[in-house]
């Protein structure tokens, strides 16, 4: 026969409540960052002499710590690892009227990689505007020792920030 003392009971309640609190905090932390929606734009082909590169944009929208956000990425890749600086991207996010909301700075690939991307992010969005991601990419043309710069194909619109 098990005797449940008063202190044992209260200890068990305290333990239960602590566990519940920890669990709640963990769940809230996980749920505070979410990508409500994600989309990818069409791929474009960039062909300076002797090499082919590909570029595309992606877009994620959602809510992070109570703030609505849109993150637009511009990606560029090729089939082989390239020396540093051979690929550059400049991502941007636009609204449904094609106004630029955020334009990222140009950034360039580090040494010995074949795939590079960077992000332009908009936070504290109000309402539920439809947005898209579209950027620019630069790739090194070894034949003429100059960059070729391309606009990349835009993503579809997203307006889900839940």
């Amino acid at each position: 026969m098990i005797t449940v003392t008063k202190s044992l009971f209260f200890d068990s309640v305290k333990g239960f409540l602590c566990g519940a609190l920890i669990s709640t905090l963990s769940v809230c932390t996980v749920m505070s960052v979410s990508a409500a929606a994600y989309t990818t734009g069409a791929e474009s082909v960039m062909s300076p002499p002797n090499r082919t590169y590909y570029a595309y944009n992606t877009l994620a929208t959602g809510k992070e710590y109570g703030q609505k956000y849109a993150r637009g990425f511009t990606h560029v890749y090729t089939n082989d690892n390239m020396p540093g600086g051979y690929m550059g991207v400049r991502p941007a996010v636009y609204d449904e009227n094609d106004n630029a909301l955020m334009v990222g700075s140009w950034t360039y690939s580090p040494n010995n990689i074949s795939d590079y991307s960077n992000v332009a992010a908009v936070f504290s969005i109000s309402g539920n505007p439809a947005v898209y991601s579209q950027g620019r990419a630069r790739v090194w043309n070894t034949q003429i020792n100059d960059y070729w710069t391309y606009a990349t194909f835009r993503t579809p619109f997203l307006n889900d920030y839940t």
């Binding site: 082909v45 600086g85 579209q134 194909f153």
Partner: protein, 139 residues
Amino acid sequence: MKKLTKSAVMALSLLAGFSAVTAAAVLAGSSAVPYETNGQAAPHTGRPNRVNANGQTYGTAGDKLYDEDIPELIAVIGDHGVQGYVTKEDYMDDDGVTCPEEAVAYMEAKARGEIPVKVWTVYEADGITPVDTFTVGNS
């Protein structure tokens, strides 16, 4: 025979000159044609640009794939939520990076915090009246 030789020389010279100029035109410049994965050149797209009283074109850039279609004044929402236009010169600026070595040095300087944040002036459609600023960055 002499006439034929002279004609042949002229024709070859003409062809060589034409080829050289064409090759230079194709290879020169840093703005290139985007291609779809089916091998077709991307179509010219986007809203038509308008012209202000000063003769400058103004409109949108995100919906356009060719640099020649991008207007002189580009629609943005400024840092304080004001809609206006930034110059094409600002929008197309590439930080003066002209080769991979400079790109690597630029990224190293950026990591050290030595590259200043760019802030563009946002104008009304007249291209003269400032109404806001537009901070360039990744977030």
